[in-house]
Symmetry: C2
Subunit: 248 residues, 2 copies
Amino acid sequence: MTPDSLMPKNFNISSIKASCSSCGLRELCLPVGLDEQEIKALDHLLNQRHRIRRGEHLHRAGLDFHSLYAVRSGFFKTYVLQEDGREQVTGFHMTGEVLGLDAISTDMHTCNAVALEDSEVCEIPFVKLEEIGRTIPSLMHHLHKIMSREIVHDRGMLLLGGMKAGERLATFLLNLSYRFAKRGYSPLDFNLRMTREEIGSYLGLKLETVSRALSRLQEDGLIDVNSKHIRLTDIGRLRRQTGNSFCE
Amino acid sequence: MTPDSLMPKNFNISSIKASCSSCGLRELCLPVGLDEQEIKALDHLLNQRHRIRRGEHLHRAGLDFHSLYAVRSGFFKTYVLQEDGREQVTGFHMTGEVLGLDAISTDMHTCNAVALEDSEVCEIPFVKLEEIGRTIPSLMHHLHKIMSREIVHDRGMLLLGGMKAGERLATFLLNLSYRFAKRGYSPLDFNLRMTREEIGSYLGLKLETVSRALSRLQEDGLIDVNSKHIRLTDIGRLRRQTGNSFCE
DNA sequence: CGAAATATTGAAGTTATTCAACTGGAGTGG
DNA sequence: CCACTCCAGTTGAATAACTTCAATATTTCG
């Protein structure tokens, strides 16, 4: 154990060296499918891990782009502020997902990212990632897959356009369920980290409509709502509710 | 001139060697910012140019992914078929834009792409592109920009969620206007290549609502509609109509 | 030219929004 | 510990927006 006296006075717990080698999340994150040696090379480019407290911003629209951020733990929302000051939520992001991909096109962040709970991210300097990617083709290819997956996901949101409120909510819940499952959490029982208003903004509905739609799904016996806690009591019927589209 | 007799009997005009060097579109397309030598290298990976007639498909959902396609001329729409057989339009694509980016993530096309007018595309085998990208960093970086731009665009579509029909239409028209302008066409005067139904599907509206919203914008003196021909008569007011968001 | 597809418009019906009242839980300070 | 406040969420009633159905007009294309 390092004696306290040897630690810098205000040692910043919020920024320590990151390492993919020792990270339990590699199977979800950037290093998917790399061998030990490649992961070691990748470690060299990750400068640090940052702790972001609930309510703190990871980046803001308009700021210069330097790094992608892999979510190590926690939960983020991204949003843009419109002219009139209203906030439009553009996404929710959980463990193993990569933030900042939108900023590559203009070298500037196009949205704000805020932590909805205490979180940790790994910073991935993009210039270095491209450099190292040249020598590790599978890493580069995986970056392409991640970006492509993002495109597929965002495009899938268009399907909401043709749906009614209940269908949108069902789709949203099933997508969350799917993502939780992939991370080893229960797909049938989870807590929402966002408010009704944020859900509504994301889905193109007003918060009252979200609330009503949730109540309705509950009445119909498809889900159990307890403020932020959701239980999917009939996932089959919930799927049918959506027209089966885009639950991933 | 090659005598006719030397040409194969049914020589396929629809598939000739492509070349970025001699393409007038490079400033819009993949080779942006490359020098002469890099472009020559790029030429080696482009096998061919394809002619796609109006109504023909460039690719279909479910097919194996091999190549990206750069639109050389013409106009495409991408769409997915839902369970119930309804068609959901996921995008419109014009000269200089790249199709197929969604397919990278799963090595399978996730949508159908059909030409809305006689078109030409350059086929870009993706494996080769990644290969050559390793030796031309600026090419690789530009691919990343293109993918990122796609993410930004798709995410911008979420802003439609909070808008009324008229605002959605205005946003849509301004986005088209912007893209036409970038290609040297008039930003104030253009022809729609798609039907009202396709617009509606894309924007999350019914075709009748699209029609009404267009009529309304015309009544209000913001645009001039003549079936598929559109003139933006007051682009300033049209911009204000959208809440100024996402016209690119 | 004529058939089929596309577009417009009206009226009725549905769905979502708005406005408003009220509930419940988390956090604060007396 | 309780009262108080603030914020998130729920619910009802009235209104606005979009959709549906239907009739008609226009355009497109073989």
